[in-house]
């Protein structure tokens, strides 16, 4: 690649041709403020905060979009640039609600940070002119406050291009333009799959989490028996949410924190992930043996399930009937667990801590009451838990390690890797291989299904039967596989699909994502999984116990009733 040479604020820099001014500036540690720019998304160049001066040009150019060329002389700090930038920022602020202190994004808002960075320490030169659109909290997962939107358009790309759900668009023109679902629809009436990827990229408080902390508080006050399960990926992202290094695994401290927060029983969703493998793996084998619908597709991701019900409504028979780990656990907690511990199931308040905003939608699905009660009463995200920990005054960094409560405090490594894309597939293969062949798997790692590539595939020889599998994450990638399934042209037997890019570890309920962080988190997941004593679902003693004591076997009638579900045609939403 040809190199080009330029100067930025008098400092020389040599970069590959095609490098943007922003990237070049980073190289020499010159900081250019940005707002609509996001490292994982396409350049939009619409906020214009990153404008810079280039010698010989009348117009300023946006550093995020403009490529460096040979001999270019760039100024990012001239009075002209600083003034233009500040005027732009003032214009944004003057059209923005001034209620930062009661905003969910207070302290983590990119606009707030920018205002501080650019020294907005004086009264605005323009009369504040805020809008008064209704706040849309109709979705169980996200809240949209159009009054705070700065029209950076990141959410548009995420929803329309990456997730291909297409709920958000620009309406109106000029000063009246706004980002919203079409035809004045409420979020709940749209095809939104609740993945929360939009809130992950919203720089301000325009799209935030639908916070349900109040419901936890109410249950606690009402003296309910507080039971909580924590999803595989949560132990890898909660510390990050509380300001620790990305990829810090804090399982024991997390249990301690939840105890302080009033949960009598802290259980590990890794266990029910193992249970899912037993049920789903058995279902797969039955489908293969009995000529059932193939490919079978995983159903543990509620964002994906709703996407399938909506956009591929005729393909839902491909979905495994197995419930997600969250919902399986919910059903078990209010039945077997309650019996075992002699608890009144009606008095149990069953909470899950999830990396996922769609889990809120899933646990509210009407059919999820196999136990005779709401299987899971409340799904909270990592973001909410972090707020609760902070607000309670818990010094998370200094907490001691506490083990999970038993009997369901034991999970296998296979359950643990559900956190990352390819994890469910790998866990299933570990178990299915050993069950079918009766042999011990030499190498547990199926690396072909790991990693960030959008669609991954491999095949496994199950003692004569070659099983072809595929993994997709991000719904745009899911479409690539599903279009073939819908045409009857898919050759796979088993497919794992996760709505969020990167899988649950990149889920919408986590601290703010970037691909780099998702990679680090994923590495941490696999790193610690290697060290776990049990790494296959079927070898988890708690699993053996439940099939011994409570369930006659995977896919038995009792399992079907408690641990399996059915799907709905949601085509009409479109």
């Amino acid at each position: 690649m040809a190199m080009v040479h330029a100067t930025i604020n008098g400092i020389s820099v040599a970069v590959e041709a095609g490098t943007t001014i922003l990237e070049a500036a980073k190289k020499i540690h010159v900081n250019i403020p940005t707002l609509c720019y996001h490292e994982d998304l396409a350049v939009k160049a619409v906020c214009r905060i990153c404008v810079v001066e280039i010698a010989g040009m009348k117009l300023m150019q946006t550093a995020c979009s403009y490529p460096v060329s040979e001999g270019m002389v760039i100024y990012t700090d001239s009075p002209k640039v600083l003034k233009a930038r500040k005027t732009i920022l003032e214009l944004i602020l003057a059209h923005h609600q001034q209620n930062c202190l009661s905003c969910a994004k207070n302290g983590s808002c990119e606009l707030q940070n920018l205002a501080a960075e650019l020294n907005m320490s004086h009264a605005l030169h323009f009369d504040p002119e805020t809008t008064n659109f209704p706040i849309d909290d109709s979705s169980p997962s996200i809240v949209r406050d159009p009054n705070k939107c700065i029209q950076c358009r990141r959410c548009l790309e995420v929803c329309n291009t990456i997730q291909t759900v297409g709920v958000l668009s620009v309406e109106g023109r000029g000063h009246d333009s706004k980002i919203c679902p079409p035809y004045g629809k409420q979020m709940v009436d749209t095809a939104c799959v609740n993945c929360g990827q939009c809130l992950q990229v919203c720089p301000v408080g325009a799209i935030t989490l639908h916070d349900n902390e109040d419901r936890y508080m109410a249950a606690r006050e009402a003296g309910k028996t507080m039971v909580v399960q924590i999803a595989p990926s949560v132990r890898t992202t909660i510390a990050e949410a509380l300001g620790e290094e990305v990829g810090t695994v804090s399982t024991g401290r997390l249990v301690s924190a939840l105890k302080i927060l009033g949960f009598q029983y802290v259980l590990d969703t890794d266990f029910s992930a193992d249970l899912t493998i037993m049920e789903e793996g058995t279902e797969l084998l039955q489908r293969i043996q009995n000529g059932g619908t193939l490919p079978m597709i995983t159903s543990c991701c509620p964002g994906w399930v709703k996407f399938c019900e909506t956009f591929y409504s005729h393909e839902t028979e491909h979905l495994s009937t197995a419930k997600s780990p969250q919902q399986m656990f919910g059903a078990i907690i209010k039945t077997y667990f309650a019996q075992k511990l002699k608890l009144e199931p009606g008095n149990i308040f069953s909470v899950s801590i999830m990396p996922c905003t769609a889990k809120k939608f899933e646990c509210a699905r009407p059919e999820m009451h196999a136990s005779g009660y709401r299987d899971v009463d409340l799904a909270l995200t990592v973001l909410e838990l972090a707020r609760m920990i902070r607000a309670t005054g818990i010094n998370f960094a200094e907490l001691p390690e506490t083990p999970f409560d038993q009997p369901f405090g034991t999970g296998s490594g296979a359950g643990e890797i559900f956190a990352a894309t390819g994890g469910v597939m790998e866990a299933a293969l570990r178990t299915v291989y050993e069950i079918v062949t009766g042999k011990t798997l030499e190498k547990l790692e199926f690396t072909a299904v790991r990693g960030v590539e959008g669609v991954k595939e491999t095949s496994v020889d199950l003692g004569g039967t070659v099983v072809k599998v595929a993994v997709a994450h991000g719904l745009g990638n899911a479409r690539k596989i599903m279009d073939a399934v819908a045409r009857g042209k898919s050759e796979y037997h088993f497919i794992e699909i996760m709505a969020c890019p990167g899988g649950c570890i990149g889920g919408g309920g986590n601290p703010t994502r970037s691909w780099q962080k998702v990679r680090q988190r994923t590495a941490a997941v696999y790193e610690q999984e290697k060290e776990l004593p049990i790494r296959k679902s079927h070898e988890n003693p708690a699993i053996k116990e439940i099939y011994h004591e409570f369930l006659p076997g995977p896919c038995s009638r009792k399992s079907e009733r408690l641990l399996h579900t059915h799907y709905i045609n949601r085509q009409d939403i479109l």
């Binding site: 906020c47 003034k83 732009i88 333009s177």
Partner: protein, 429 residues
């Protein structure tokens, strides 16, 4: 000065939609000549002619074609900008109506130059009456082998079809126009990449104004030397001027480049209507500056007008008589920009509305020097920071009023309400 009818040479003649009638006037001779040349030679000829864009910026046409010529691609496009969205401008409509084949011919030659085989005419949605004229001309050109495969027996092929948008002003901006043709919301793209590299459908594209393209056909019929001999050194050829507002004889006129503005108004257009005096003239469309009567003794030449802080733009001359108030006029213009901003980028979305609000405040007599300073801050930012040309030139009108009509502005400040402004509706109310 006498009008010089080149572009309008067939005005008033019957059946000019018919390719045969056009050919009878020497039409398509230019194309036949161009078919003997290769792309580089055509571009060289255009360079010699000195032709510059008639759509606004006055960009050398040969250079624009060269960008697309230099980019390797099996697919390239010629796009004709017939969006004519400038308020009060209708020279493209007149040209397309009276001599549609001159446009088609120019497009084919441009296609030949860059190696494109498809051309689109992006026609202003509010010109439904022009569409059948253009369509009949296109059909007739196919019949006479001026379009389609084997044009005039050569191995060159070229197709033209018409597209229309939904009527937003910003769709006249080249990249917004591409988005609109592609079926998306008409919003400008950031540049680079430029259209010559990444244009319509991501392919190298040359986009030109109707008048620019029509000029190409005349250049090839009469020769680059002939064309370069008309007009001024830096602005060759003739130019269509739409003279609008309070003049006795409004209309579209064709003159050699460099005609004197004052002479145009007073000699060719019969001066100010109803015997009134002249208040101001706006050149170059709604994003052009307002100048005072003592500033109009200037040649209408692209570089001269630019050097004096204005722009020739699409050649619109908007004449305002002294029964108006300049603040009310500029209020109207700034409302236009606030209304037409696509809203994509912050400076323009948030800035144009603020400019309009402050100008209105001044009109109502509620303004002060503090507001004038806020305006200046916005003007400085808008000139350099927005994403597209609409934003960049959106504050030119008010900037020119602050510069050329400051005494008028001061009369409105600090409670001195202007009776005229307050009785006018104002664009936004």
């Amino acid at each position: 000065m006498e009008q010089m009818k080149v572009l309008l040479r067939n005005q008033g003649k019957p059946d000019m939609e018919d390719a045969k009638a056009y050919i009878a006037t020497g039409g398509y001779d230019g194309l036949k000549r161009a078919l003997e040349m290769d792309g580089a030679e055509i571009i060289e000829e255009l360079k010699k002619s000195g032709l510059r864009g008639r759509g606004g910026a006055g960009f050398p046409t040969w250079l624009k074609l060269k960008f697309a010529f230099d980019t390797e691609s099996a697919e390239k496009y010629i796009v004709c900008n017939a969006d004519e969205g400038e308020p009060g401008t209708n020279k493209d409509r007149v040209l397309m109506s009276c001599d549609p084949h001159s446009l088609l011919e120019g497009m084919v030659i441009a296609g030949r130059a860059i190696g494109a085989h498809v051309g689109y005419i992006y026609l202003r949605a509010e010109y439904p009456q022009v569409r059948p004229i253009l369509q009949r001309a296109i059909d007739s050109a196919y019949t006479c082998h001026a379009l389609g495969k084997h044009i005039f027996g050569s191995d060159f092929e070229f197709d033209i079809s018409i597209r229309s948008g939904a009527g937003a002003y910003v769709c006249g901006e080249e990249t917004a126009l591409f988005e609109s043709i592609e079926g998306k919301r008409g919003e400008p793209r950031y540049k680079p990449p430029f259209p010559g590299v990444h244009g319509l459908f991501g392919k190298p594209t040359a986009l030109n104004n109707v008048e620019t393209l029509a000029n190409i056909s005349h250049i090839f019929r009469n020769g680059a030397i002939w064309f370069a001999g008309i007009g001024t050194k830096g602005s060759t050829g003739t130019k269509l001027f739409t003279v609008a507002g309070n003049v006795a004889h409004r209309g579209v006129y064709e003159f050699p480049m460099g005609i004197n503005l004052k002479a145009l108004i007073y000699e060719n257009c019969g001066g100010i209507a109803d015997g009134k005096g002249l208040l101001a003239v706006q050149t170059g469309g709604s994003s052009g500056p307002f100048i005072r009567p003592d500033q109009i003794d200037i040649p209408l030449d692209i570089d001269f007008v630019a050097a004096s802080g204005g722009r020739l733009g699409c050649g619109t001359v908007f004449v305002i008589d002294d029964s108006n108030c300049i603040l009310d006029i500029v209020r109207n213009t700034q409302d236009f920009f606030a209304y037409e901003s696509c809203g994509q980028c912050t400076p323009c979305r948030e800035g144009t509305i603020r400019v309009a609000q402050i100008v209105d405040k001044i009109c109502r007599g509620d303004g002060s020097m503090v507001d004038v300073r806020a305006l200046q801050e916005l003007i400085d930012m808008l000139r350099v920071a927005p994403l597209c040309g609409l934003g960049h030139s959106s504050a030119v009108p008010i900037a020119s009023v602050l510069q050329n009509f400051m005494p008028e502005v001061e009369k409105h400040l600090d409670g001195d309400a202007c009776v005229w402004c307050n009785t006018q509706k104002g664009g936004r109310s």
